[in-house]
Amino acid sequence: MTHNEFRRAAKSSLENAQRMLFSEYFNYVYTIVFSRLRSCAGREDIEECVGDVFADVYMYYDDSRELSGDISGFIGAVARRKAADVYNKLTRHSFGRISIDDEETANIEAPDNTEEAVEKKERNGALMHCIELLGEPDSTIILQKYFFMRSSAEIAELVSLTPEAVRVRCSRALKRLREKLTAMSISI
């Protein structure tokens, strides 16, 4: 959704425009925030942070400054910043606040050209590939359970199975995933 599209939609209803923006980028923002905070924050903190990210984005859109083209990079940057801020607060490493007007905002993503970053990217790519190879619904179950840390009851609703069936499939899928990872010499 471009800035112009947002403005056009906002002319008839600001809330609707915000809702459209929210719907389009929710999964992306949630995943960024979740992946940063999953180890230290409760679900409520994560939800609050997501709300906070979008509030900032709405405010930025109100502003006269123009953003053009694909704004997912900008939204991703806000999400990473906010999540890092919450992370620092929760882990008490820092109490600094972050403004999206920061000069650094545009350059927020971690540099991906270091050897370590490249290695991590490759490893994550291979891991995601192994998970995808499990097929549905197993790949979803594994990600929901071990990354998004959802309960079997919640996953059950998502994949239209009973919680017990989810548990059974999860345990089998985990075994298969381990085999695939071993075959590809990936240690997690």
Binding site: E15, Q18, R19, F22, F26, N27, Y28, Y30, T31, I32, S35, R36, R38, A41, R43, E44, D45, E47, E48, V50, G51, D52, V53, F54, A55, Y58, M59, D62, L90, E109, A117, K120, K121, R123, N124, G125, L127, M128, E132, S139, T140, L143, Q144, Y146, F147, F148, M149, R150, S151, A153, E154, I155, E157, L158, E164, A165, S171, L174, K175, I188
Partner: protein, 691 residues
Amino acid sequence: MNDKYINLDTLENADEETLKKIAADCPASEEEKEIMFAMSRRIYKERTKESDYKNGMEVSGVEVYKKPKWHGFAAAAAAFVIVAGVVAGGMLLKKNNPVKPPVINSRVEIQACPIGDLESCRMRISTADLEPAVFEPSDEKQRAINKALKEGNWDAEKKEGFTVPDDIVYSSEFSYDVVTSYNKAAESTRPDYLTIFFKDSDNDGRMFMLRLFSDDSVLYDDGTKQERYQLDEETAGTVRKNAEFDPEIYSLIYPEDKNGDLLHSVWGISTQAENNAETYDLYCPVTDETVRVTADSCRFCMGVWNQEDVMTCEADPEVLKVFSQTDWKPATREANLDADGILVSFRCTDSNENYYEYTIHNSGTAIVSYSDIADAIDVKTMTYDIGSDMSIYSSFYGVYEKTLKELTPDRIFSVTEMRSAMISRSDDPGIKTDLNDEEIGLLANAVTSAEWERLPEDTQFGDRIYSLDMSNMMYHYGVEIYSGNTVTINGNNPMRVSDDFITALNSISERVWKKQEPVHYDSLSESEEAELIERASELYEKCIPRYMGFTSGSPSLFYDDTEKIEYKEFGENGNGILIPGVTSIDEIRAMFLEEFSERYHANDIGDEYPYFEMDGKVYSRPGGRGSHIYFQDTEITEIRCMTEDEIIFNVRNYYGGAETDDTLPWVEQKAFSVVVQPDGSWKVGMLSLPY
């Protein structure tokens, strides 16, 4: 390594590409999204001071965002901040709203809040528009309502204004009909009212409700008594103001009916009537606590958990005692569960929605998990070694037997899965043959949809018309069907079955046996056929002990001289017999597949049992195999059919007879096949061990 968990932390802070892939699996429900959207709007409005509050309240400060009550308390660390906020908020309220002395009205009796101190109460609110849903106002709003009610004037003598209609007996009974009709009556004269439900955590969970009408009269109801009061206008106004529903802040709660009790329902608390179900002690070694559970919430399976085979403990809830009598020693070494069969799987949920899962393995390893069902992330799992104690298995086996004994076949195969079955010919109940998976499904359906009626023990039976074998995971049921639709199961349990079952048997039997009729090949002379049968019979006879030897790791297969058998001790890992001349299980598998076709036997030799590799050598843990005590003889009788590279024979196995006991002899027809190799040699194809 924890086999039940995988750490995906590496995906944290992932690169953009990986992130987008993960985002496709974003788990947030529509409801959660809605909450977050409302939150983003609220923060936005606070920051832009675009408050939607119509009551003139304005949020001060742009950075302060207070998490709504319904979000709960996420972290203990936040507690301090919240407590500090409560104190500060309280002081602020005090400053802005100095306590007014109560206005004494000489005409009527004015009293202080007659419903007691509400400080420790939680509130949920509903309005005529929201019913039957309720919402839980924020702490701040609850405090404001509490304060208003505490400091307001309550006129207990109010007689004018709204009265409860005579034709509606007002009660706290949870019935939407009653509530709705009551509301309708109220609506005609008083369109606006709101109901506040209170629960006092400091007073044994005392519950009551107040219904505030538009004339500021209020009805108090605690389920045992109702009283009416008249509030002063300012108090009522403050309550209304703070009880407004904001869809962007509050989520609606739809109470689940708790035996018609409105108060219990609103708070989601089980009522006495619900609690009447008898409960039993369940000991959980993980928490080292005993909880009370109902028999129907305790479910188990003999073997691995299979939804089709699940039973409850209702037949004998006392079985749960076995968990408190077991010696739960934490396991000291990692168990190899892949090669370990499961004896019993048990699952249960207690009244607090905690989930318990026990898996008892053949080796004595027991895995017990405990979790809060709503938050299964925090699963606590412990592995125990209960040694050779078989009491859990035998106790549950007792319940299993007891449950099945009381059931007719339709119920048995409703709660257990039919795993295998045989059916006789419609014209000869003395010979039976196997059903394939699809036919098993047809038979199971016929059994469960038929009507079964128990008959007296002394029932007389006519001629036998069908003979069936049906097995679930644990039991084998020999079912004999006689004329007049009378039935025996395993030689007794006389019953009568409905006609539709016999009709279904006719159809299944015809289908099954038709496939086994031998095909006549013009190109095959009688002598050629006899030659093939003779050659197959030799292979058949020879392959049975070879197959048993390979799959059970029998040393006689690998040692010409059994006196030279080498045993080796592996301490905690038990002992094994050295398989001479091989260095891997794959080599044994290759030897096996030299004789047995991969088409049917590719997976007959596993990676874990009976062979295992150690120090570059292969050992076996040979296990004894029981034999069929009724077995008499087996023979290949005819060629059933041929394909391009396979010849399928009919085999007849003969069982029973005077040499064992009085069991009537019977015959089973099976298939044996040979897979013809390119060089003309044969490998064993289909094989069913006759003994």
